[in-house]
Point group: C2
Chain length 442, copies 2
Amino acid sequence: MMRRGEIIAIGSELLLGGRLDTNSIFLSEGLASNGVEVRFKTIVGDTEADIVAALRTAVRRADVVLLTGGLGPTSDDRTRKAVARATGRPLRRRAEAIEGMRRRLAAWGRTPSAAQQRQGLIPTGAEVLANPVGSAPGFVLRWQGALIAALPGVPVEAERMFTKAVLPRLREGGVAGHIERKVLHTTGLPESDVEQRIGDLLPSDGGIRLGLLASPLGVIVSLTLPVPDGAAGGIRGGRGRSARVRLEKTFRAVRRKLGRHVYAEGTDTMEQVVGRYLAKRGLILALAESCTGGLIGHRLTQVPGSSAYLDRGVVCYSNRAKTELLGVPAGLIARHGAVSAPVAAAMAKGIRVTSKASVGLSVTGIAGPGGGTATKPVGLVYVGLDTMSQGTGKVSKTQAFRFHGTRETIKLRASQAALNLLREWLLGPAPLIDHDSSFPRR
Amino acid sequence: MMRRGEIIAIGSELLLGGRLDTNSIFLSEGLASNGVEVRFKTIVGDTEADIVAALRTAVRRADVVLLTGGLGPTSDDRTRKAVARATGRPLRRRAEAIEGMRRRLAAWGRTPSAAQQRQGLIPTGAEVLANPVGSAPGFVLRWQGALIAALPGVPVEAERMFTKAVLPRLREGGVAGHIERKVLHTTGLPESDVEQRIGDLLPSDGGIRLGLLASPLGVIVSLTLPVPDGAAGGIRGGRGRSARVRLEKTFRAVRRKLGRHVYAEGTDTMEQVVGRYLAKRGLILALAESCTGGLIGHRLTQVPGSSAYLDRGVVCYSNRAKTELLGVPAGLIARHGAVSAPVAAAMAKGIRVTSKASVGLSVTGIAGPGGGTATKPVGLVYVGLDTMSQGTGKVSKTQAFRFHGTRETIKLRASQAALNLLREWLLGPAPLIDHDSSFPRR
């Protein structure tokens, strides 16, 4: 039997104020791979009574409850009090909770303020969890058969404390099973086409669950299978192994069926995949962005070590910049417009030649909401690729797209389309879609 | 009495799979300004029994329950069935639910597939809500005294349906009150310093609640006050007005105390604020980014109309690019290193001069996790500003920072520091921090 987990994220800013709970992604994954299936997440504000209510509901239906947030030094941090009230275990000042903070501050020649000392109040009977990267200590206790852990709201602090202090406690007494999960990232196919292609590949016994999620970057396909009786880490155990083999087989069939639309697996991103291909081939990339405004460069440079293959990028938000930085002839822009296949091609070639990089990648388009016309509507985007001769010959390609959505979404889709054009070329030698100055493709 | 609201976001990808529920931000704001205070958000997977459990819990404690997601055509869309089961109202095929879809598809010369027709199954007694921007219809029903609305998971569809169909129903019978909320965005002060500065400005009656939220972009300060008895829109009503006046007064005092650290109010962003200043003064900006990799350009171009003041940017991820594109002397880089105040200054000047823009803004730094040394650690960032003579005289400034966190966080903080340097200059004529090649400032 898989244990059941529940996450309670605390903070009024998560309820009202545009703040998203990013902790729970990491925590859910960590719980799942250790035999705890997260079935519910609850978000509550900094209101003691609501935290108490959420904790009581959670303890009724879960074996493991993780609380995040509300442990800081300020007056709106109420998790300590709420846990004390819900469990009937009054707060006590704990020397070991203050000690770590005192040591950290001493290194800067400071001592804990009265507010910071409040962070040393911990429910009676709870074990204090040191915070290796911040000042707020956490704590863990058992109540009504459930393991309850209170972690800080700051993601890096929650992650470290979870890994260091909560995971070992979850593994005490062995792990009764875990969730196997395989994920594929696709681009260029709508959600219903993806399901139509792969729907009949799933075994009819219903064990494997298919998840589809549409996003501006493409459709994410997940296959999930709870594996009972596996050892921790899931390596041993006959039933566990056969379930894993079954999942792996289905996964391979799904991947085959989706073919070149699959650009990544697991937690990989497009920018990591493209970066690895570039690094492996020793190629140097240069970017010429217009409507994406720097987003492609930003995405590629999220990957550590990207300076090995990204030389430079230019963001040409004016026609003059396209001419001065990339040598795009002013006459070409006048004749076809800045948003056109010839200009996308000239931008890609211009950045490659001026930078002496191996590959030039370009985008030009209309991100909106203004600036569209009947013949060149908002969402019209051209991406271009220009390469030096690399064995397979010199390549100069453009693709046209017509995207829908907000300015932000169109920028994301355009950046993905450009990176995907590059990926398809890097995959070689299968033919790319030919030079195409007409839209739409999706 | 404020009504109580609850949001249930449905989708296994929201539980396990790194997908964040972005809908609830908009929905919470919309509910709050119409007299419904969201106290809990629950996230459940695509499991019928769990959706049923979440709905039953929500109806016990809320007057308005919004469900998002699980209305699509694929087999993992289970919201319709779950609502039918929880409320005991069986699904029936509804002509009006299919009709909109049929019309939309007809425009493309297609007819609804069997899977899409499943979207026409609606609980008996529920009212169908048309989807103006997608295929999945929603529905609304009353059960056990609560208004329950099921909306699509796609953000733009949820937003349109909520605004068009749910809000008018919330306003039926008048609005009993609403939540007034004022928000400030600060940068350059740690969370505890912010609270220390403003803590004693809050009236002791406890009516106004202070919220503080630390993020890589700075600390967000919110003041929240539930206003009873206000008319819809909150214009009339004596008690409502005096509460609003009190909130406004406290807000002004807080803003004064935080001074130039405040860069925006409400939903404004740094890039919007900076963009407005640039547009107002008729200034043209050019960017020279290194460690931020295009993030500053990306942020500025999220704002519609940014092409009016952003001419271009260059991302110089190699030393050669800094020399070729910006004219930074190779000797300067050799002498001081690419991450140094003189190089930041030369980058800002280089992009301004080559682009003939009014203002050049630059960043160079070490985003990590690799690449740090004892004298130039990960997180060391220099930002630079170079301007044409603009009445107040020619300005050439750099600032040094030492940031902590992940690569992603350091990039965010660096982009914010650069934009803030620009903002402070645009605010003029108060003096900037002097040219400073030593760190740290935070």
